[in-house]
């Protein structure tokens, strides 16, 4: 007996309330955007400059003591957080200390770092500095710029590719879904105040890739079914296509999630934020390919005048064999 996530021949009506779904998605995007505007992202030093120091000590982390030790140096905004992770040993007490970029200093100074290290050593003699990272404000400004360009470029490239392979309505639907995913992900990061650094941009782009992967598979089937059922209304064709690919959608999402959850739980705290972004992205991406991309397609309508008789005959990959 085989494990089936989705029973055979499903016939869910995904579009009975498609306007409602689009509305909910729109509302969530507004909420996410508002959270981003009001709370803002908890940018890591990659994007706003400054220094982070990761410390490890056999004694428990006492944030108050650490803070008092550093306060005398007058370094402006200093944030200290204790890091917990199931992979840590019992006597492994880890803290992250973030110091803002110092005014008027383009480059990072060794003096400040060694002063902080000395101050901490005076209260915790056994403290170790596992990693020290500093980014100057000049570079961090550029990193934001490159990151935004990367995301925009990725979405643009994808828009063009889908436009070439499908119709513009498909491209618009897919990109709308992508924007939806990216905004919701940024919204979650802003709402939960998870540290947003360079790796999260990589995660965002992967989400773009994954969500697209999902959307394209559905669209590919829609294109095929549009040729097969010439007379059926668009909503019905979309529904059939989504139902037919539903089993695959779930299989892939579950395998990917299985892998990601393993990494989330066991992969250590350094990449946890990154993996969280991807898990969120897989869930949102799966949702959006059905309820955003396809609903948008329904809203935009598609050209039904497919003059090509067979689904694969006009397809440039039809004759590839191996």
């Amino acid at each position: 007996m085989r494990l089936r996530l989705v029973k055979q021949n499903t016939n869910f009506d995904f579009f009975k309330r498609w306007k409602l779904w689009l509305g909910i998605s729109g509302l969530m995007m507004v909420v996410a955007f508002a959270s981003f505007m009001i709370q803002g992202l908890n940018f890591g030093i990659d994007f706003r400059g400054g220094t982070t120091i990761r410390t490890e000590s056999a004694q428990p982390v006492d944030i108050g003591v650490y803070r008092d030790a550093i306060a005398v140096l007058e370094l402006g905004d200093v944030s200290i957080t204790e890091v917990f992770d199931p992979t840590f040993e019992d006597d492994q007490n880890v803290a992250m200390i973030r110091i803002q970029a110092q005014d008027g200093q383009e480059a990072v100074t060794v003096d400040i770092i060694s002063a902080v290290e000395a101050a901490l050593q005076s209260v915790r003699p056994d403290i170790q500095f596992i990693s020290v990272e500093s980014v100057g404000p000049k570079v961090s400004g550029e990193l934001i710029q490159t990151a935004v360009i990367a995301v925009v470029l990725a979405i643009g490239a994808v828009l063009i590719y889908i436009w070439l392979r499908f119709e513009w309505q498909f491209a618009a639907g897919a990109v709308l879904a992508l924007v939806h995913d990216v905004i919701l992900t940024i919204g979650v990061f802003s709402e939960l105040q998870i540290r947003f650094d360079l790796a999260i941009i990589a995660a965002l782009l992967t989400i773009v890739g994954y969500s697209l992967n999902d959307t394209v598979v559905v669209f590919d089937r829609v294109r095929e079914n549009l040729r097969k059922y010439k007379k059926k209304p668009l909503a019905e064709v979309l529904n059939i296509s989504i139902n037919e690919t539903l089993s695959r959608t779930f299989m892939t999402s579950v395998t990917t999630l299985l892998a990601l959850i393993a990494l989330f739980v066991l992969g250590g705290d350094v990449i946890r934020g990154f993996v969280f972004a991807m898990i969120w992205g897989v869930i949102v991406g799966t949702y959006s390919s059905i309820f955003v991309a396809s609903a948008a397609l329904l809203y935009l309508g598609v050209k039904r005048d497919w003059s090509k008789p067979d689904a694969n005959a006009g397809n440039q990959y039809a004759n590839i064999d191996a």
Binding site: L153, I201, T256, L258
Partner: protein, 553 residues
């Protein structure tokens, strides 16, 4: 029909074997690494018994390429430095002043007296007392300009000369500035590389980034501060004529001169001419030595042009002092006793043996032509790297097993086929990474884990399609064939779009993010290959053997 040509079968099989073969050394990482280090050491002449033994640990005929571990996994230091290219303009202009003075001197009857005026550091301002002689002065100074070779500006000169009233202004031309920037960065790159090599660490990365930045990554080094000490010391050595000596740190040195403190006499200041006679760039060798009193010193030797300049200067200035200036401090200011023709000399000062050895190394490696500003620095402790590797390994194994079990439960025998393909897939990723010398970073491990999850997607697409085709009651062979045929466009479209984002990430990202892009991109290539060719080959071979009337996917 379900057919695959024999040559295709062999190609597929050979590709898989080649990938696994190349990936194999990574399974014995530490042994192979020791072997590689030993081979390198022996090549450099360190043929010790220990090195020989370590070389023998891994057979020569086996591949020895390894996946490089990124800084975040191995620990080490990362620096991003910006070369302050403008520094060079000032010293270029300083060096031009004596030339301009000497060229204008014979013209004094027409142009009157000439006087250096205060100016921005990248310009030279000269006032002449008879402005009507300006055209002649311009002509003479323009005669000093040297043509430069550029890609665009054929016939461009290195300096531009213009007049403003009685002021003659000399600046570097734009073309020369560009050429100078290029030289400065190249030179800095080379010098940093030499300095790091002198210390001798494993696989340092020293790369140029953009127009004026240099990225330096050194695995295994204790901290970024340590790395900065190795490369950050400028060791700018010059020999300047001494104007006077005093103890006032606020003394006005006068135009064209500068005031520098003494290295070992507190409170002593020298006024020296800003334009050096010779600079450390013209040194060909420097060695630690001892002077006649047995104190540590550094012996040096100039190249031919440096030796000539030094010789001429000492011949003309017997009896006057000159200063040996290191990084804007006077190391010593001996009086010239006699003409020194050979171009070699000795620097004495109150050095320890260690200091003289370091100074010799710095002088030999050459001075950085311009200052460095550090924009970004990261130190990752080796413990954190090891923790990340351990956590990554466990997570990857768990993810892998979970996916394997899940696939088997869902697709039975076909799931097993997909699982074998998945294992080959991971092997291929490591094989390719070793082959191209790619770097595995922590996000890179995440990329592999993500690939494990997504690699099955192509297979899932095919299997689901076969299930559908089976429903419409075609024979199993036809269903399998149609399944592959119809799933192909979805597989390609889906993977090409993800691949596009991987390429963009690779192009725009740096460091760990780039590592993620590499594994993701390679993972897409290998997973499409394994899904379309490898699983299919397995299914076809199984089908040919069993000829089942009925299949269950």
């Amino acid at each position: 029909m379900l057919q695959i040509d024999l040559w295709k079968r062999i190609t597929i099989l050979l590709t898989c074997l080649a990938g696994l073969w190349l990936a194999m050394p990574n399974a014995f990482y530490t042994t192979v690494e020791r072997h590689n280090d030993a081979v390198q050491a022996i090549e450099l002449g360190a043929t010790t018994a220990e090195n020989e033994a370590q070389r023998a640990e891994w057979p020569e005929w086996l591949p020895s390429g390894l996946v490089n571990l990124g800084l975040d996994l191995r620990g080490g230091a990362h620096l991003l430095a910006e070369v302050k290219v403008e520094d060079v303009y000032a010293s270029r202009m300083d060096a031009y002043w004596p030339e301009i003075r000497d060229a204008l001197r014979p013209e004094r009857p027409t142009i009157g007296t000439i006087r250096l005026q205060p100016s921005p550091s990248d310009e030279v301002h000269v006032r002449i007392s008879q402005p009507e002689g300006m055209p002649r002065a311009l002509e003479v100074v323009r005669g000093l300009a040297r043509p430069i070779q550029t890609l665009t500006g054929v016939g461009a000169n290195d300096i531009e000369v213009r007049a403003e009233g009685d002021l003659l202004i000399v600046t570097l031309s734009e073309a020369e500035k560009l050429a100078s920037d290029e030289r400065t960065v190249q030179q800095s790159l080379e010098i940093i590389r030499r300095r790091i090599d002198e210390v001798g660490t494993r696989e340092p990365t020293i790369q140029r980034q953009g127009t004026d930045r240099i990225l330096i990554q050194v695995p295994g080094i204790g901290s970024a501060a340590e790395l900065k000490e190795i490369i950050g010391t400028t060791a700018q050595l010059t020999f300047n004529p001494v104007v006077s000596r005093g103890s006032d740190e606020n003394a006005n040195p006068g135009i064209g001169n500068k005031l520098v403190p003494s290295l070992d006499e507190p409170g002593a200041f020298y006024t020296i001419e800003a334009a050096p006679v010779v600079t450390g760039e013209e040194l060909v060798d420097a060695q630690p030595a001892f002077d006649q009193n047995g104190r540590p010193a550094v012996n040096f030797r100039f190249n031919t042009s440096g030796a000539r300049k030094f010789g001429d200067y000492t011949a003309e200035n017997i009896g006057s002092p000159f200063a040996i200036v290191l990084d804007d401090e006077v190391v010593s200011a001996p009086t010239i006793q006699s003409h020194i023709p050979g171009g070699s000399g000795i620097i004495t000062g109150r050095f320890t043996v260690e200091e003289s050895t370091n100074l010799a190394i710095l002088l030999r490696a050459g001075a950085l032509p311009a200052g460095l500003e550090f924009l970004e620095e990261r130190t990752i402790g080796p413990e954190l790297g090891q923790d990340s590797i351990d956590a990554g390994k466990i997570a990857t194994i768990v993810a892998f097993v979970a996916v394997l079990v899940f696939m088997f439960l869902s697709y039975g025998l076909f799931g097993v086929f997909a699982n074998v393909a998945l294992i080959i897939n991971i092997g291929l990723i490591f094989g390719l990474l070793s082959m191209i010398g790619g770097t595995l970073t922590l996000p890179g491990i995440a990329g592999i884990v993500l690939t494990v999850g997504m690699a099955v997607d192509a297979n899932v697409l095919v299997f689901e399609r076969i299930r559908e085709e089976l429903k419409s009651a075609k024979g199993p062979a036809r269903a399998i064939e149609l399944g592959y045929e119809k799933a192909l466009s979805a597989i390609l479209d889906a993977n090409i779009t993800t691949f596009i984002t991987a390429v963009i990430l690779f192009a725009m990202g740096s460091g760990p993010v780039r590592g993620f892009a590499i594994t993701l991109g390679l993972g897409i290539l290998t997973s499409v290959f394994t899904a379309i060719f490898v699983t299919r080959l397995m299914i076809v071979i199984w089908f040919e053997r069993k000829r089942p009337k009925k299949i269950e996917v």
